[in-house]
């Protein structure tokens, strides 16, 4: 019996991975480690890093008066933007998967909100809903739908709803394209045989479409939770968290805390808290999805 030939250690894959590993280390892992270190350090108003102070920054951060409001805002922001953009993106993907004239154009138009910079999007929406000479009021007044201009930003609660609405608007294309790619990989014959067996639209939707696009939907949801949680430009451009942090989410708040209020220690601590929350959310979601996929 011939012994198995001894395999030469193959170093090539590691060598090919090295540039990526280097880049990720320099631009991702290293900054994360620095933020962890800073969150346990005393930091002066001018940014000079002092000694180790244990969990003091974390205690200061959670005791800030705006902390509960900001956490609730972040929760509603992520839930509404991810939840509604997933639902609406799914519906749009179903529509775009049908055969109709101008489908290619419709798909191209859909990508616009996603391809445009978020700062530009948010600024444009700021103009649209402006009370004094906003496009929305102009259009409605010209069509005779309203008699007087409406203040679309009359309270901070409404402003926050607008921020969420813009968040949903810019996120829908991403979900729609993820789902669309999933839909296109479903074999047409499945629907044909289901039709022959007498299945209706809803039967086909819940028993064929949804289970088969679930992997695509899982990926888009996890990525969306991370993107939306970390999204800075919409809230910052539209309200800068005003009035008094009442429309801030965690990311905009920690920026304001660091560079406006100059509380850099607590801002670093909040950064770490946000990172851990995201790791937890993404972890739970991935585990639950993997279990379901194994069970299938």
């Amino acid at each position: 019996m011939n012994p198995l030939p001894k395999r030469k250690p193959n170093w090539r894959p590691y060598l090919w991975l090295l540039p990526s590993i280097l880049l990720i280390s320099v631009f991702v892992i290293f900054p994360i480690l620095i933020v962890f270190r800073l969150s346990f350090s005393e930091i002066s108003k001018a940014g000079v890093v002092g000694g180790f102070i244990g969990f003091q920054n974390y205690i200061d951060a959670v005791n800030l008066p705006a902390f509960p409001t900001v956490m609730m805002n972040t929760f509603w922001w992520v839930l509404s933007v991810v939840g509604l953009s997933t639902l609406l993106g799914f519906i749009i993907a179903l529509v775009l998967n049908q055969k109709f004239r101008g489908r290619k154009i419709a798909r191209s138009i859909l990508i616009f909100p996603w391809a445009t910079s978020l700062v530009i999007q948010a600024s444009v929406w700021n103009y649209i809903i402006k009370y004094e000479y906003g496009n929305l009021n102009s259009v409605l007044l010209n069509l005779g739908i309203i008699k007087e201009a409406i203040n679309w930003r009359s309270s901070y609660q409404i402003e926050f709803v607008w921020e969420c609405a813009v968040g949903i608007f810019v996120t829908i294309p991403f979900v729609a394209f993820c789902v669309l790619s999933g839909l296109q990989s479903i074999d047409e014959s499945l629907y044909e045989s289901a039709t022959v067996d007498g299945a209706g639209f809803w039967d086909k939707l819940f028993n064929i479409t949804v289970p088969l696009v679930r992997p695509a939907l899982s990926v888009s949801t996890v990525l969306n939770i991370i993107y939306v949680f970390n999204s800075f430009p919409i809230v910052y451009t539209m309200t800068k968290g005003a009035p008094a942090n009442k429309t801030d989410t965690m990311i905009t708040y920690l920026y304001m805390l660091s560079f406006y209020d100059r509380k850099k220690g607590p801002a670093n601590a909040l950064s770490v808290i946000g990172f851990l929350i995201l790791c937890l959310c993404a972890g739970i979601y991935m585990i639950s999805v993997m279990r379901k996929e194994e069970a299938l």
Partner: protein, 421 residues
């Protein structure tokens, strides 16, 4: 072989990103890292492009001062605090910084005293009242680079149309506002208020200084929660609640107000001396005039002066401290030379900080003279106090909380307790 070549190429690209070569400087040269704030669309061109009669500040300076190189960045006001803080945290502070605040840097021992680098002749040229704003513990830590003053601008046509006079007191302001609201049935806002994170502290100053209050008491101690202050801010909040102002003061910045003023949609706005230029740039043709900011009955009106600074950071590792200080001094001397400085100040429509520039500026634009008088009577923010950042953000939050329904006295009490604990 191709694979190895591709690998080497990608690796070198990756490493290249992290190690871009520094610009070459000859041995013996002193290189000064300078950060300048972007005041307007021309700043970058003036310092680095061709905006200085076909050349730029850096080239001209280096030609006239051999042996000194400038590594100069023009940074927007939105980014400059982030940029400076990050550089300080990385032990890479600039040599020369142009910004508004200085107290934190001075208190933490990061700055050089002005006397270490500023030539005596130049130092004597600054307006003394400006220098006083940059003193902590009898040491001057920064010099003023320019200033602007605020006044009340009003739309003369609207006032003539409605048949009212410019208000000088708060009571008159309410009467005039009501008359404008009645006449235009809400189409024109009488009064503009900006309580945003951009400039909410200016609103605090306009009203509290017009009511005998302010950020500090007569001894220079923090007194943000004085009854005069609470009364003053409540007066402003009532103007909002009664529909005399722009509807969303927490998110409508001074620039939004200036746009409304330029469009004839706002009758009165407190703005800096550059407003006429701003309105003209926007294509507005507004017949405007200036007046004192209205104050409460029996209280003096006070204008708000805003001043920015230039400061030098310590660099204990610099091999030749004396040569470095001398280079910084040469930079300042060159910057404030009327030949350069007058062009710089007038380009962006600011007011000068040195006497030697006044004559040339008034000659070029006689309206400067009136503004120089306004500047003489201005009050400034207490930026020399270490807690200023906290107070600035604190009063904005207090105003915004009160706009959202909170009690202004309680908000100010909480702020006072926080800054004096």
């Amino acid at each position: 072989m191709k694979k190895i070549a591709a690998f080497v190429l990608s690796l070198s690209l990756a490493l290249g990103l992290a190690a871009a070569p520094a610009p070459a400087a000859e041995a013996g040269d002193i290189t000064l890292d300078v950060i300048i704030c972007q005041y307007g669309p021309n700043t970058n061109d003036w310092f680095l492009g061709t905006g200085m009669n076909g050349t730029n500040f850096v080239d001209k300076f280096e030609a006239e001062n051999p042996g000194i190189k400038l590594n100069l960045d023009v940074v927007s006001w939105n980014d400059v605090y982030t940029e400076v803080d990050t550089r300080i945290a990385n032990h890479n502070a600039p040599d020369i910084l142009n910004i508004d605040v200085f107290a934190n840097y001075a208190n933490e021992g990061l700055l050089l005293p002005v006397s270490d680098y500023c030539p005596e002749e130049l130092f004597a040229d600054y307006f003394p009242s400006f220098i006083d704003q940059s003193v902590i513990d009898d040491t001057v830590w920064a010099v003023p680079d320019l200033a602007s003053a605020r006044a009340l601008f009003y739309n003369v046509d609207i006032f003539e149309e409605v048949g009212v006079e410019v208000p000088t007191t708060w009571a008159e302001l309410r009467d005039v506002s009501q008359a404008i609201v009645d006449y235009y049935e809400g189409e024109v806002y009488p009064w503009g208020i900006d309580m945003t994170t951009d400039e909410g502290q200016a609103a605090f100053a306009y009203y509290t200084w017009g009511n005998g209050g302010g950020f500090v008491d007569e001894n220079g101690e923090w007194a943000v929660n004085s009854p005069e202050n609470a009364e003053a801010i409540q007066f402003a909040l009532d103007l909002v609640a009664d529909g005399y102002t722009n509807p969303n003061p927490a998110t409508q910045t001074r620039y939004d107000l200036q746009d409304m003023f330029a469009a004839g949609k706002l009758a009165m706005v407190i703005a800096p001396n550059q407003l006429p230029t701003y309105v003209a740039d926007k294509g507005g043709e507004i017949n405007m005039a200036t007046a004192n900011i209205p104050a409460n009955e029996g209280k003096a009106s006070s204008s708000v002066g805003v001043m920015d600074r230039v400061m030098a950071f310590r660099d204990d590792e610099a091999p030749d401290q004396a040569a470095r200080n001398e280079a910084i001094g040469k930079f300042l001397t060159f910057f404030y030379n009327p030949e350069n400085y007058v062009g710089w100040v007038s380009m962006e429509g600011f007011l000068p900080a040195v006497n030697s520039a006044v004559e040339a500026l008034v000659e070029a634009d006689p309206s400067f003279e009136a503004w120089l008088d306004v500047l003489g009577g201005c009050q400034f923010y207490p930026t020399a106090k270490a807690e200023w950042d906290q107070v600035k953000q604190g009063v904005i939050k207090a105003e915004q909380s009160a706009l959202a329904g909170g009690d202004i006295q309680a908000e100010l009490d909480a702020l006072q307790a926080e800054i004096t604990k």
